[in-house]
């Protein structure tokens, strides 16, 4: 067994997902602690063209699992073949695709799984991770049990690592070892439906302005979009707003939506239900705007503004514009 740190790198149209860059950075950091190398496991459309560039974030090698645009889970057998007896840890993004692939490795190789973690390090030669469990009410530290096989599979939340950029390194690219036959390859896309409007990947946003039932309508999101615009951020939502059809489900934050970890989260007209909170509580700064002085979000926001979002948000947008212009 080696001390290498593997990471999953998802590609679309030759471009790595932001999670791939974050995990490359994290893997390089852990590899420097373990005395091994960071190795990317690249899959998706254009993976072989883009894999070498993972070297910019510190990956020494990249193994290409496949180049097609097909359901992520179908890459599981190739991933398992590349992961078997290889390294100390496999970092996977805590996204639906990342979780499915991580789970297939756990079920195939009978290795320990952790996460979603908010911190991970190498201690005494093993992977030690920290996670918030039970809806954030408990923080635990865990390790592999004595004698558990490697690699440890670690699900990592978005924005846990900040991608280093500007590096000139190039990863040495190779093909994945032959995979065993598996029924996991049998899932196929039967139909694909595109949304009318383009949706951003909320996990990649460093500033999020989220709206809830208090936004009251589809048009109600316009001032939130303007604020997000001047802040250079993205718009998100509670399930209540997505269920009402005011905003696409891709922008829902929470237990059954995206788990986000931006530098700044501004929630407007959102009460702060536990299922919403678990999706945003790791934001570095939380600002809430709510007309109810007793809204639960006021108990865990860093800054709680009591007032009508339709007055506060346009005034705030104006003020920030004024300062930026000056």
């Amino acid at each position: 067994m080696s001390n290498d740190i593997l990471f999953l790198a998802e590609f679309a149209a030759g471009t790595p997902a932001r999670s791939a860059l974050e995990l490359a950075t994290g893997a390089a950091e852990l590899a420097s602690q373990s005395g091994g190398s960071a190795i990317g496991l690249a899959y998706g459309a254009g993976a072989s063209d883009g894999a070498a560039a993972l070297g910019a974030q510190g990956a020494a090698r990249a193994i290409v699992l496949g180049n097609e645009d097909r359901p992520a889970i179908t890459y599981a057998p190739a991933l398992v073949a590349a992961t078997r007896d290889a390294g100390l840890a496999l970092l996977a993004p805590a996204t639906p695709n990342g979780r499915d692939l991580a789970a297939a490795v756990v079920g195939s190789l009978h290795v320990p799984a952790f996460g979603p973690v908010r911190a991970v390090r190498i201690a005494d030669g093993v992977v030690e991770s920290e996670q918030a469990t039970l809806q954030g009410s408990v923080v635990t530290t865990s390790r592999p049990a004595d004698g558990a096989p490697s690699p440890s599979v670690v699900l990592v939340l978005a924005n846990t690592f900040t991608p280093t950029d500007g590096g000139t390194g190039s990863a040495e690219v190779s093909a994945a070892p032959a995979a065993e036959e598996s029924a996991l390859t049998q899932a196929t896309v039967a139909e694909s439906h595109e949304a009318e409007a383009k949706v951003v990947n909320l996990e990649e946003a460093t500033i999020i302005v989220a709206g809830g039932r208090g936004v009251a309508s589809e048009e109600g999101f316009a001032p939130l979009r303007e604020l997000a615009g001047v802040l250079g951020g993205a718009v998100g939502a509670s399930r209540a707003a997505a269920d009402a059809g005011w905003i696409p489900y891709q922008l829902q934050i929470g237990q059954t939506g995206k788990v986000v970890k931006p530098a700044l989260y501004i929630g407007a007209g959102i009460s702060g239900a536990i299922q919403h909170r678990v999706g945003m509580q790791t934001a570095e700064h939380v600002v809430a705007i709510n007309k109810d002085p007793d809204a639960p979000i006021g108990e865990f926001a860093d800054l709680f503004v009591v007032g009508d979002l339709f007055q506060i948000i346009p005034a705030l947008t104006e003020e920030i514009r004024r300062r930026k212009g000056a």
């Binding site: 889970i73 756990v106 079920g107 320990p112 923080v139 865990s142 439906h193 860093d302 800054l303």
Partner: protein
């Protein structure tokens, strides 16, 4: 077409939970419920039964004796029978061990669709379904906002980055569904009465052909520390100010933190 729905009993959402001295969850201290996300899997299975597409719906849970209550509650919503896997060797099971036990039980029950929730409330790893699929060597159809059956194949409607896809695979499959399948039904009084007479079997490890040895202490992971989250600085409040003044204060606050 036979469906087995895997349900987990978890501490009630929002309840005050704590860990015991041996760093496992103190399950005696709080109310237990069906994992809320598993109720959507139950609802999806019962809709397929109502439509005459599923011939039978069985519930499967691994947990302590009390988890039988969760199975009875599920049976009150509908469905035919239930199996509880319980064994002293399973205390503190992690996701790997849970998957191993469920996979062995599913091998015995041999459903066309093993249906699960998208995540359990207490761990939120969403790893059990994929691990079960890999162990049983059947396709995984995950995160469906709807599950449909067409001949010898199952398909799920799943959000994509830009819209949604229908993803399909031949039966048998492991499938998971989200809270978008529709609100779970309530158990009627009649349902609660009927549930008392529905078969509920209890199996030990030997019944599914596993030994305590193979389960390696029921976990490949160990928790070395459990603590409350760090205290956050107290919330600052801005109230009773005209919008323009509130905006200035918010902007100052953001600027002080280099966010603008």
């Amino acid at each position: 077409m036979k469906i087995v729905v895997c349900i987990k009993q978890v501490p009630a959402t929002g309840a005050d939970k704590r860990y015991t001295d041996d760093l496992t969850l103190d399950r005696t201290s709080v109310d237990a419920i069906i994992n809320p996300l598993d109720e959507y899997a139950i609802e999806q299975a019962l809709r397929l039964a109502d439509a005459g597409i599923a011939d039978s719906v069985t519930y499967l849970s691994m947990g302590p004796d009390q988890a039988a209550e969760a199975l009875r509650r599920a049976l009150a919503m509908g469905g035919d029978d239930a199996v509880l896997i319980t064994d002293a060797a399973l205390a503190g099971a992690d996701e790997w061990a849970t998957a191993k036990v469920l996979a062995a039980a599913l091998d015995k029950l041999a459903p066309d669709v093993a249906l699960m929730g998208m995540a359990s409330d207490d761990a939120r790893g969403s790893l059990v379904p994929g691990a079960v699929a890999a162990m049983r060597n059947v396709p995984l159809l995950s995160y469906g906002s709807e599950l449909a059956i067409e001949g010898d194949a199952a398909r799920v409607r799943r959000l994509s980055a830009t819209g949604f896809d229908w993803i399909t695979a031949p039966l048998p499959v492991v499938a998971t569904v989200t809270d978008q399948v529709g609100e779970p039904r309530y158990a009627s009084l009649k349902g609660i009465m009927a549930a008392k007479r529905k078969p509920l079997e209890t199996w030990g490890l030997a019944d599914i052909g596993l030994s305590a040895d193979e389960l390696k202490g029921a976990a490949l992971t160990v928790v070395t520390d459990a603590r409350p989250p760090e205290e956050k600085a107290p919330t600052e409040r801005i109230e009773n100010l005209p919008a323009a003044e509130a905006a200035t204060k918010i902007a100052d606050w953001l600027a002080a933190r280099k966010l603008i």
